[in-house]
Amino acid sequence: MIPELGKYAFAVLSSYGVSILLLVGLAWMSVQRARKLRQRLEEVEARMKRHG
């Protein structure tokens, strides 16, 4: 199934691998931070309401 890459195997595979890894890493970090801050904002807003 994997196409014949010959002497370029390392170059092709590593560039696909690293690119996907970097993109996924960036997306994961963005989503994690988004989730964390959304929760914190809800907490802070709830606290604001309680204190008026």
């Binding site: 092709v12 590593s14 960036l26 997306a27 988004a34």
Partner: protein, 242 residues
């Protein structure tokens, strides 16, 4: 109804939240299709062999690395002229994404250069320009991180972005004078000319480019929302302490 209504943070979050799942889905779908097509179903090129498959990550990321900076410049200008906070935050949100694209372009360029040019790194105008672009991203992000007051930070980084753009273009041409390149010229815009990109590469390349654009937009929206929320938390906490 004008486009500036979206500069209201609340309105921005309200409109972008329902779009985001679709956008993310489209980004992932095009990326998967484009990369699988590029990896499995493209022929070897006569002069590059199988290494031509790197094209499908190298070129879109390089393109978006530059476009991300251009978007930051536009957002900075909007912030300076119209003082919409969302604009400044979007510029901030875009910087790390642009930096990652630059990194991808540099890395894939290096591993592509190794077998075809026989060297990992060549002080070639295009490669060098990207290294400089990477440094610009680093400085820009560092300046955002260093300044406490959000409005001051937004103003100063906007000034830096504008000055940096001028110098980035200047460096690009300076670097061109300074070295003869191994890097070939852009092939995308050469359709119909003597040495065009082969038709069997054209479609997957376009899909990959679309994928990178979608990824960029989706990530910018997510990160801008995060920055808006971070700002709001700061404001609320300051009010509570008062």
């Amino acid at each position: 109804m004008s486009i500036w209504e979206y500069a209201n943070p609340k309105k921005f979050i309200a409109t972008t939240t329902p779009i985001l799942p679709w956008l993310t889905g489209a980004a992932i779908a095009t990326l998967v299709v484009g990369l699988i097509w590029g990896f499995f179903f493209t022929p070897e090129a006569a002069n590059f062999g199988a290494s031509v498959k790197i094209f499908f990550v190298h070129v879109p990321s390089a393109m978006m690395a530059i476009n991300a900076w251009a978007m930051m410049l536009v957002a900075s200008l909007i912030w300076v002229i119209r003082r919409h906070h969302v604009s400044a935050l979007a510029a901030r949100a875009a910087a790390p994404i642009g930096m990652v694209f630059t990194l991808i372009a540099l890395f894939t360029g290096a591993v592509w250069g190794q077998p075809t040019w026989g060297t990992w790194w060549e002080w070639d105008p295009r490669l060098t320009s990207f290294l400089i672009l990477f440094l610009f991203y680093l400085g820009y992000i560092a300046l955002w991180e260093a300044i406490e007051d959000p409005d001051t930070a937004a103003d100063l980084t906007a000034v830096l972005c504008m000055v940096g753009s001028v110098f980035a273009i200047l460096s690009r041409y300076a670097v061109k004078f300074w070295g003869q390149g191994l890097h070939q010229d852009s092939t995308i815009a050469k359709v119909g000319e003597r040495d065009p990109l082969h038709a069997s590469y054209y479609l997957p390349a376009l899909i990959c480019m679309a994928a990178f654009v979608l990824i960029f937009v989706a990530l910018v929206l997510i990160r801008t929302q995060t920055e808006i929320r971070a700002r709001r938390i700061r404001a609320l906490e300051a009010r509570m302490r008062a």
